[in-house]
Symmetry: C2
Subunit: 530 residues, 2 copies
Amino acid sequence: MSDPAQTPSRRSLFQMIGTVAGSAAMYHAMTVLGHAAESPFNGPIKLSAPPPGTSVLVLGAGIAGMVAAMELRDAGYRVQVLEYNNRPGGRNWSLYGGDVYTELGGATQTVRFDPGQYINPGPWRIPYHHQGILHYVNRLNVALEPFTQVNYNAYVHSTKMFGGKPVRYREVQADFHGHVAELLAKCTRQNALDQTLSKEDRELLLTALKDWGALDANYEYGKNLISAERRGYDIDPGGGLDPEPAPSEPRAMSDMLRSGLWAAIGAGHSYDMQSSIFQPKGGMGQIGKAFGKALEPLIQYNAKVIDIHQDAGGVTVAYVDSRSGGERRTATADWCVCTIPASILSQIPMNVGGPMRAAIDHLPYMASLKVGLQFKRRFWEEDECIYGGHTYTNQSNRVIGYPMWDYFSKGKGVLLGAYTFGREAFIAAARSPEQRIEDALECGARIHPQYRAEYECGVAVAWHRVPWALGCAGEWSDEGREQHYNNLCALDGRIILAGEHASRLAAWQEGSVTSALDAVERLHKRVMNA
Amino acid sequence: MSDPAQTPSRRSLFQMIGTVAGSAAMYHAMTVLGHAAESPFNGPIKLSAPPPGTSVLVLGAGIAGMVAAMELRDAGYRVQVLEYNNRPGGRNWSLYGGDVYTELGGATQTVRFDPGQYINPGPWRIPYHHQGILHYVNRLNVALEPFTQVNYNAYVHSTKMFGGKPVRYREVQADFHGHVAELLAKCTRQNALDQTLSKEDRELLLTALKDWGALDANYEYGKNLISAERRGYDIDPGGGLDPEPAPSEPRAMSDMLRSGLWAAIGAGHSYDMQSSIFQPKGGMGQIGKAFGKALEPLIQYNAKVIDIHQDAGGVTVAYVDSRSGGERRTATADWCVCTIPASILSQIPMNVGGPMRAAIDHLPYMASLKVGLQFKRRFWEEDECIYGGHTYTNQSNRVIGYPMWDYFSKGKGVLLGAYTFGREAFIAAARSPEQRIEDALECGARIHPQYRAEYECGVAVAWHRVPWALGCAGEWSDEGREQHYNNLCALDGRIILAGEHASRLAAWQEGSVTSALDAVERLHKRVMNA
């Protein structure tokens, strides 16, 4: 996207294409790298009974740790879980009013959201094909509701095009499709495809392009009631003797291309964003809470692991109180499933072999920022008819996510005011929470002028400052995965790793689940063959 | 679509393109004809107080009639509503277990659905821009939940292609987009667009096509992890040492074009189907029920209008009991808002002028069929990971609609087993309800083999046999609208018509609402100027 051979003006255009799409382009890039895909989950696992008294120590009560703990417990293992935080879930986490969060560097935020309002700093959606996490969601009776990935009435926005005014998603998609269809129809009719498609196929193609692209009888995409039925009207059809409907004016293809706004169209097409897609009612953190309740006697909270040692007899883990430090304690077991993020684990002494250690030390972690903003009223619904979904912008906040629950309610609402990865997220991590919020307000106000008058309070989580994660997810490169991935996942003596970082679904809870299931299955096989 | 100049084999292909899309193509055709668009509703109306004692008789307690009655009542009019059925709502209607429905011809169906199960024989979705009906939904405190228009994991199916096996929607869309992008990229690189786009725009177009169409570095759409992130995998990425992901094989463009399956892609793009889109919790009929409750003392049920007469002094309407006939009664008022469908009204004596009479007599009504099928379990969710949305088929049932509520529940479920217009709907109307259900089962079983084993009971509503509607909605042609529409809507003495047929949003509740608001505003103006 930033080929140095490009002239400066060209380069900036290309960069803009890359940036304006916000998470859409980011996710597309992620998926090309092998992230984010369908689960190989094939229904619940059933382990046979282990030798009586066989014990497993699980490190981390995030999704991976709790899946491992639940399956091992169910099989008959003696299980103990050590968790750094004072709550279950890990990155499965929702922030509600009254919650207090202290980040690395000491900045403490007390969330002042009203009851019923929340933000998910970590994962916030579950696609239909993530059948592993969906299995546990249903087993734990966590209620789901639909997540709205694509909202045709939300905006795509560039400060550099169309006077800096936001454009409705439906206009961007309709115009891009329409112009692509018109261009291909023109080529087809000018015989450019005669060597590629048969005459019959060319005629079918013209029929298809006309229908799909909303072209007129001359295979042109223009201002008429055909395109209006995709991009909207200047005067909408009504009842009785209301004024007659009038179509709206499509934007020129050249402007569409130069705006980069087209990059937002892919957001709902990629495998992990396709409908149907769900969220837990009341926040993603409801899953972690339900897991924690189901495993209650097994989990020891506020336990900061400081040493992991294995020998012929078992595994000994040393830990201290994560709040107060103090006395060094130990826990022991025959085996260990360690789900501590590699970013943290690389700093903990653990006597594993060189290949696993190299893999742990290798893996970089993605930066990410989420900002939640509470407003006095749901002006995006009341004033702009935006019910859920996302607005994409080329500004540093990248995304505005509208709450996908309590639609049409008259009360307050919390927006996701920023959702960024990479460069913007690193910059945000270097700023104070207050500054991150102010940045999100400044960007958002250029899209929604109601922002300043309606804003009440906010919270900002920069994942590189989350003390127990130091990043939002493992960021595998193709080369890194080739060299280290299998070594990271291999059973090393009595220790096996699990988590999204030990999966090909990085940053997704499904990666945590499938990783944990694969880990306990291999561990169990080892136990039974011991 | 059925050009007689085509050879038979070509013609059948084109017909298939037209039919396989089911309601998608139908709705696209409808929208081109001027149906189905955004509401001009601009917030609640506020009528001034009329002269004390001014009375209005509203005929029909469907959405239009109840909107008119509510606004007139609120302004201070004396309002009486006559309704043929024993319930409010009209075509706003949900069928629940225990409901009894007798169609024209005498066939009676007693619905045997379990508690909580239902089908909406009439309207079933409300797009974000139908702000008129949404206003009343919110005023009446009817809860809404998201409707899923597009489900990437539902099917598109043709008995004539791909071995008659259903294809996932995501594969159809990804392959169509991918091939379109590849073809246009090829034309662009072979200079076919040199006269149309600047060099800079051509390069931007290539970048856009590659991203949007999931093309590889050579601008080709092929079997690789890029296309897999749109159409899905042969082996899905997993956790730990699960097998490595493997991409799936795209279908050839020629097969895609000949299959006609691409016609389903437009379903979610058209203005009235775009997300966000909603449904009332518990069935569309909840709106009618809430309206009825709010207007309770004003509505007289079981009143079959048999004569409408106006003179200098007012309007007199004669009616009988719609169940038993018997005694002729009359109701009188100063003015009349008549929302009786034109299909029925054309058979009722009413002394209006020639232009309105000609308009009423002119308007044909669309045929439509909906079949609801209850199954013992939600096999589409449990076995096939289909949560809501629609499957499109070239069979006579056209559409299977999956319930968009109670996702992941372990109980029973009701599918929309058929949803047809036009020819298929007329044929269905000529068959018994049992035969319609059997037809839907036969078609559905070719897509979901679980049908026969899991089926419990069903109900089939063919709208041309609904005694109080004789069709699902007014079917305006461009010519008919040109000649008759204004005459239908004009105030004729003391009588004004309202309903979806008196709107440019035919078949939508928003047409009923905007028509009713326009009618009462014009009527009120006439009253105040009298």
